[in-house]
Symmetry: C2
């Protein structure tokens, strides 16, 4: 039985390549900065070479590899295995990465965007285990979403489903990069969170955040605001309550529409923890319809920084099953 998978998490900052065994066990892992590769050709060569090398290093035979799974934040055609766009890498436009990787490694390859990959990981090995209908959210600079319907990842009619960050929260709200107005992301994305802290501190609100960054407000990050909230800093607490409330309103709508049994929230900001989750749950309870609200468990993602690798391994196994 082929029990190994090569999982690749192709991020904007780092690339992780791992051998994953028995579903979710990471045997060996390479981490390197993405900008080590200056162009498209170098990146594809690097990915295929390192895949073959980590197989050798792990003393596995190539025929024991089920496949290569790749997750990236780009715009992806998961069906044909094409990356339409990938930020940070020069010339990376409409690249048939699946075909190229298969040619260079001789191993069947599968691609999907990082949020779908994380959703698969959480569904099979994380906080979403056993869920039939689930929504997975990643918080960060952007707010992404993955949808599970009837135990399977739902990709939509042109593979773009899940953009929960771009559901309108206020029809007359501020313009969003996506072209819409008042999108949820504008109220819970990192930029908003940091901006809220900076503005309030500049206005003279007292907060330990200022001391934590040595007076340099440009150094404020969501993690720092989280730590400040952990120390009961009132400004930081109010920011997380605000974010939780916005998230809760959008989730109330999603719960009314999709009636999922689980909502899994991950990504950097989800580290704000208890306070954030309590506010989200309270807002959903206040605003969503009673029956579906009672049914929807809102939980924190479990897999942490390796979610992308574990999910990529799931993608390969599911892809092989579909093909058979």
């Amino acid at each position: 039985m082929r029990k190994y998978v090569i999982a690749i998490d192709l991020g904007g900052t780092n690339i992780k390549i791992a051998v994953v065994k028995d579903g979710r066990k990471i045997v060996n892992k390479i981490i390197l900065p993405t900008d080590l590769y200056k162009n498209k050709g170098a990146l594809i060569n690097g990915l295929s070479q390192l895949s073959l090398e980590i197989i050798k290093y792990s003393k596995i035979k190539k025929r024991d590899i089920l496949g290569i799974g790749i997750g990236t934040p780009g715009l992806i055609d998961s069906r044909r295995g094409i990356i339409h766009r990938l930020v940070n890498i020069k010339g990376f436009k409409d690249v048939p990465l699946k075909r190229l990787m298969e040619k260079k490694t001789g191993i069947q390859t599968f691609l999907d965007n990082d949020v779908n990959i994380m959703t698969l990981g959480e569904l099979h090995y994380g906080a979403g285990r056993g869920a039939k209908n689930m929504v997975c959210i990643t918080l960060g600079t952007g707010v992404g979403g993955g949808i599970v319907i009837d135990g399977r990842l739902y990709r939509g009619s042109c593979l773009s489903a899940g953009e929960i960050g771009h559901m309108p929260l206020n029809e007359h709200g501020p313009r969003c990069n996506c072209g819409g107005f008042g999108c949820m992301e504008k109220f819970v994305g990192n930029k908003y969170i940091i901006g809220a802290a900076v503005t309030k501190i500049k206005k003279g609100k007292k907060s330990i955040i200022k001391k934590m960054v040595g007076g340099d407000l440009r150094k404020i990050t969501p993690e720092i605001i989280s730590r400040a909230a952990g120390n009961r800093d009132r400004l930081a607490v109010s920011i997380w309550e605000d974010v939780g409330s916005h998230l809760g309103v959008t989730l109330a709508g999603v719960i009314n529409l999709l009636n999922p049994e689980k909502i899994v929230i991950g990504g950097g900001v989800s580290g704000a923890g208890r306070l954030l989750f309590e506010t989200i749950r309270k807002t959903v309870k206040e605003r969503a319809m009673k029956m579906p609200a009672k049914y929807a468990k809102i939980v924190k993602a479990k897999l942490g920084p390796d979610a992308g690798l574990i999910g990529a391994a799931v993608l390969v196994r599911l892809g092989k099953n579909d093909a058979n």
Copy 2:
């Protein structure tokens, strides 16, 4: 082959009972006022008696009937065939209508709410034919929704999915009956539409609507506002543009989230026609993400007043298939 279905559209105002042949052909139909039946027992007796009588009248043998399909606006457990609540009928609470109908008629019975039934009808014989992923919306006093995923009706984890009317459009909007705030229904439901016309006319805005209702503003209906808009009445036009814009904003969010290939809009208000649909499409184009927006066709429901009967017939055939 059993090719006939008894379809029942159990509405708040009227009950329709029909023999449906070959999928969608209505052979015979009975229409009667719902309040003919003063209580639960009388209604159930009436439904089963009339079902048996329309079979006789149509000169069909009972063994040629595939099943009875019932659609109603109540709160329904479609899996167990229970109506939890039905407005207008005294004592209609947690009624196992499926079991009772089967006992009284000897014919297998299936239930679902009217919006899901309409969605099934449009999917199989109406504007949604051939769609894999689709959202169906009914406009009226309330705003309902049905979701099709991968060619099948999606009911959600506790069978309450599809409440598109209760997705928030403005987080600080007015309180809704459902408990939420700023729900889409509050901006496009009949009450809102009529209220907008009344308020504006009272404020002195000129409109032919006033003449159309003989000066009695209580007589204003969405249909009258539609007709006025058809005559280029500026007040009426502005109301439909407003409704279309609110609907478009919510649909932009639904398109970003679900990436459906079709959105079917039906119900009384959809009669406002071209003006309403043009505004919806324009707003979606302006606000939804480009790729999924391009992919999502927004169309008017096709089946009209018999949608409930045709959909109920589909429900029976699907139910029989699932059981086999």
